[in-house]
């Protein structure tokens, strides 16, 4: 079947019930989305499908139905950073960094829909993404900085 990821079309030969996460990681070598829990508890696998943040460990590739997948690799690169990534770097959010791909994708989707989120909205939306190192204070600050950056564009 065909899968659209970061603007490219890939042909993959896998079971239709394989979660998108494992198509990305083990079939396409796109490893920005991480495996953390497999049951939508940690958010490390978060990608966008047609602009909406989804847990790719829960979406069967057969249910993509032509949806456009965006992973962190497609959001921005070290040379062309997305505003959320710029904010994450400015605040030095990451410790181990393993959850941060998912955190950034979640934050980017949030700011796309809600350009100026309140503290309560940030807390509510970002609480589905677990960080075992405890970078939460910096995540909060970076989301606000990113919101400002995006509004200035």
């Amino acid at each position: 079947m065909e899968v659209r990821v970061n603007g490219n079309t890939h042909e993959v030969d896998v079971s239709a019930d394989m979660p998108l996460l494992w198509v990305l990681r083990d079939e396409l070598g796109i490893t920005g989305p991480k495996y953390g829990c497999g049951i939508a508890q940690c958010g490390a696998c978060t990608v966008h499908v047609d602009g909406v943040a989804v847990r790719s460990c829960q979406l069967a590739v057969g249910d993509l139905a032509g949806g456009e997948v965006l992973t962190i690799e497609g959001l921005g690169t070290p040379d062309t950073l997305h505003a959320v990534q710029e904010a994450w770097i400015e605040h030095q959010v990451a410790q181990c960094g393993y959850c941060q791909s998912g955190q950034i994708m979640q934050a980017a989707a949030l700011l796309d829909r809600t350009p100026a989120p309140s503290d309560d909205v940030i807390d509510a939306v970002m609480s589905g993404n677990l960080c075992r190192c405890g970078t939460y204070p910096r995540i909060r600050a970076a989301v606000k900085t990113a919101a400002t950056k995006l509004q200035e564009v």
């Binding site: 079971s15 991480k34 829990c37 508890q41 962190i72 030095q92 959850c99 405890g134």
Partner: protein, 744 residues
């Protein structure tokens, strides 16, 4: 395979350049020179004096010999070398150390010595020196115990100074200008006329020189990097999804595997039926490993699906199957026959007079559960083995693989990887041995083993359980005495036992955080009792100080409240250690301790010293109708020197969150010998909406530099419990707190 070849192959994986025609420097001027792993098999025109710095015609490469599990040690260690070498920040490559005795951890050795970290007596220093010698002989290259910075603070700066001076000598030899007239700046030797000779241009010349040693280190007043905010070298990669962790690596022709091993840890595999699993999509093979089965497939998800379809008959657990039996075994250890050590007997507790209060405390098993599940790639051929994984003890890993495959250590190459967290989980070797077992049955094919999250939880050798019993004596509004007994299985014995080592003498971790605190309680008796080995346990961020620190500080808080004294003032009055007293005073000032609080609010303070770092925390909570809300935390701690204030703040805040989150709601319990918690839904720790504001202050009064990875964790639980008591009047003596009170 040459050792330089090892570096070259690693660089293929992590993107640094190979060594070709250059010079490798380093230091550690010990009485007997230690093996320099960069020195073997050097080609003509190359030279390697030492294990830390490599310069060739293209670039400067620094070796940061500790594992990076998120603490940022690669950046911090690079900064130490770059400071002395006058390198511009980031204008160099960094590589992890390979397994080598040259990289033994001297600081970790010192912390094994049974002396309080505040004890700087000649005897204590002598024993620490002896322990360091033993660690050197065994070459324990470990990352843990918050020792990376203490281990490297001097020797990596010496390495940088040696490299700088040798490059200056090379420039002097070439130009005829005396060394004294040369300066260094921006990765170059600068001549009196301003001409800059880049280090890379001088590499070949320097390769022929004896390294210059004994140069005094740069005075701290002239530091450009140390103590200043610096951008972590990994921050862009970690913010763009471009950093490869061990779990992300791909080796050509690699296959994917996962395992299901008896969830009763250490129990046997009696039989299994893989008939259905063998026919499932993507399955390549199914093989046995010790106490379990591995599925090899074309995709990790296929492997996980198939292993879940295998039917198993498991043997019994080699420990009591039910949690209540574990507690009974710990409780039974409060007896003379189980005394592990009487750590303190200050004054005369038996003769102390006053009113008596008592408390009994419990601390549960807790999982490490770093977000990156355990994984390893192993490639076995008849004459060599390669291993790619993120690990904290490189040398022990090589020995473990050798034990499985029968290769000699020289035939085994280990490529350490970036770790997606550890908290002590990646000290363990079972997953490495399993990956080696699978790959050994498939010689010639690289195998990547990835644990499912459920397998990771089932085999997370957790933090040990522990019980404390305290009697406190109060007189004239003061704490006059404490008699604290702690019973627990030995985490060191369990952990070292799995590595085939036995550690003689008492286990200081049963009592760490209680025996070593520097309070001058007039009558203080502290005894540790050793429970039998129960579920296998492991070092969990800050290890023993979590339980023992919770018991000690909670008991002290109870005594202070019963005495009618102020929790901060009484702790300061009792404190017998200047550096610690300043930490308490700082957190009091930061939090405006003693000021008016709003309705339903309460504050608790706690002090625990672990890994030589005096740490005090104040937690403020509100007792809402729906439960306890943590509003704010203030924390002051003294690590001697703060290398990078930004990373320092991040790690300290993270440590507080780690401590609070698990104290709130996380434990592992056993039933039928199996951990009942299987994923983050039932072992959650803290999520963002529960995270308080956390104000951090790093003090620099202590004489020696210390690490900051662990010390912020232990005071969090007692500070939170003390705050809950202040807000509600409810004293909770058992972790996790949510067994007794709700959180919002």
């Amino acid at each position: 395979m040459s050792r330089i070849g090892t570096i070259a192959r690693r660089t293929f994986l992590i993107g640094t350049a190979a060594v070709a025609g250059g010079v490798a420097f380093g230091t550690y001027l010990v009485k007997r020179p230690t093996e320099n792993p960069l020195l073997d098999d050097i080609a003509d025109g190359e030279a390697a004096f030492n294990p830390w710095v490599i310069v060739n015609a293209d670039r400067v490469t620094l070796i940061a010999p500790h594992g990076d599990k998120g603490q940022g040690i690669q950046s911090s260690q690079a900064a130490l070398i770059a400071e002395e070498m006058d390198l511009e920040w980031g204008d160099f490559d960094v590589s992890f150390g390979m397994p080598s005795k040259a990289y033994w951890n001297t600081a970790m050795a010192g912390d094994v010595a049974p002396f309080m970290s505040t004890d700087e007596s000649r005897r204590a220093e002598t024993v620490r020196g002896i322990m360091g010698g033993i660690f050197k002989i065994v070459g324990l290259q470990g990352t843990g115990g918050s020792t990376s910075m203490p281990d490297s603070f001097i020797k990596l700066r010496e390495a940088g100074a040696m490299a700088r001076e040798t490059l200056k000598l090379a420039a002097s030899t070439r130009t005829g200008i005396p060394v004294a007239d040369l300066k260094t700046k921006g990765g170059a030797v600068v001549l009196p006329d301003g001409t800059a000779l880049k280090y890379t241009e001088l590499a070949a010349d320097a390769a022929g020189l004896e390294p210059v040693s004994g140069t005094p280190l740069c005075d701290p007043s002239r530091w450009r990097l140390i103590g200043k905010p610096m951008e972590r070298l990994d921050i862009i990669a970690k913010s763009t999804g471009t950093l490869d962790y061990g779990i992300d690596l791909v080796v050509p022709d690699m296959v994917h595997a996962t395992v299901c091993v008896n969830p009763r840890q250490g129990g046997s595999l009696i039989s299994y039926d893989a008939t259905a699993a063998r026919d499932m999509t993507g399955v390549l093979d199914i093989v046995e490993v010790t106490n379990g089965v591995a599925v090899i497939a074309t995709n990790t998800w296929y492997a996980i699906q198939a292993v879940n379809a295998v039917e198993f008959e498991w043997g019994k657990a080699p420990y009591p199957p039910e949690q209540e039996q574990h507690w009974e075994a710990v409780e039974a250890a409060f007896s003379e026959g189980s005394l592990d050590s009487e750590w303190r007997n200050d004054g005369d507790f038996g003769a102390a007079i006053g009113s008596v209060i008592e408390g009994e405390y419990r601390s549960p098993y807790v999982a490490h559960a770093p977000l990156e599940p355990l994984n390893a790639i192993v490639h076995v051929t008849d004459d060599q083995v390669e291993v790619w994984s993120g690990h904290q003890t490189q040398g022990m890993l090589v020995d473990a693989v050798a034990g499985v495959t029968g290769h000699s250590a020289d035939q085994i190459t280990f490529h350490n990887q970036w770790m997606g967290g550890s908290f002590g989980h990646r000290l363990e070797l079972e997953h490495i041995k399993q990956a080696a077992e699978i790959a050994n049955q498939m010689r010639g094919t690289p195998v990547k083993l990835t644990y499912s999250r459920e397998e990771d939880f089932a085999h997370d050798f957790p933090r040990h359980i522990s019980m404390g019993r305290a009697r406190m004596i109060i007189a004239d509004g003061k704490v006059e005495g404490m008699d604290l007994s702690i019973a627990a299985p030995s985490v060191i014995s369990s952990q070292m036992g799995r590595a085939g080592l036995s550690v003689p003498g008492p286990d200081s971790q049963i009592a760490a955080g209680a025996w070593n605190n520097p309070y001058d309680i007039p009558n203080y008796r502290m005894r540790a009792y050793r429970a039998p080995e129960l579920a296998p346990v492991s070092s969990w961020r800050a290890v023993g100080a979590n339980a023992a620190g919770f018991f000690f500080d909670t008991a002290l808080d109870e005594a202070i409240h019963a005495a009618g004294a102020d929790p901060l003032d009484e702790r300061i009055r009792l404190m017998g250690h200047d550096v610690s007293r300043k930490v308490l005073e700082a957190v009091g000032e930061m939090s405006s301790w003693g000021g008016e609080l709003g309705p339903n609010k309460g504050r608790g303070i706690a002090y625990v010293e672990s890994f030589g770092v005096p740490t005090a925390e104040v937690v403020e909570v509100t007792n809402t109708e729906a439960g306890i809300r943590i509003d704010k935390v203030w924390i002051a701690l003294d690590v001697g020197t703060v290398v990078d204030p930004v990373n320092f703040e991040n790690l300290v805040q993270g440590g507080v969150i780690f401590g609070l989150g698990h104290a709130m709601n996380s434990e592992i319990t056993y039933s039928d010998g199996i951990a009942q918690q299987s994923n983050y839904h039932d072992h959650e720790a803290m999520r963002l909406f529960q995270c308080p504001e956390i104000e951090v202050r790093g003090l620099e009064n202590a004489e020696h530099i210390r690490g900051v990875g662990e010390p912020p964790v232990p005071p969090a639980a007692p500070a939170l419990g003390n705050a809950i008591f202040a807000a509600t009047g409810q004293r909770i003596r058992e972790l996790p707190f949510n067994k007794h009170i709700n959180f919002v």
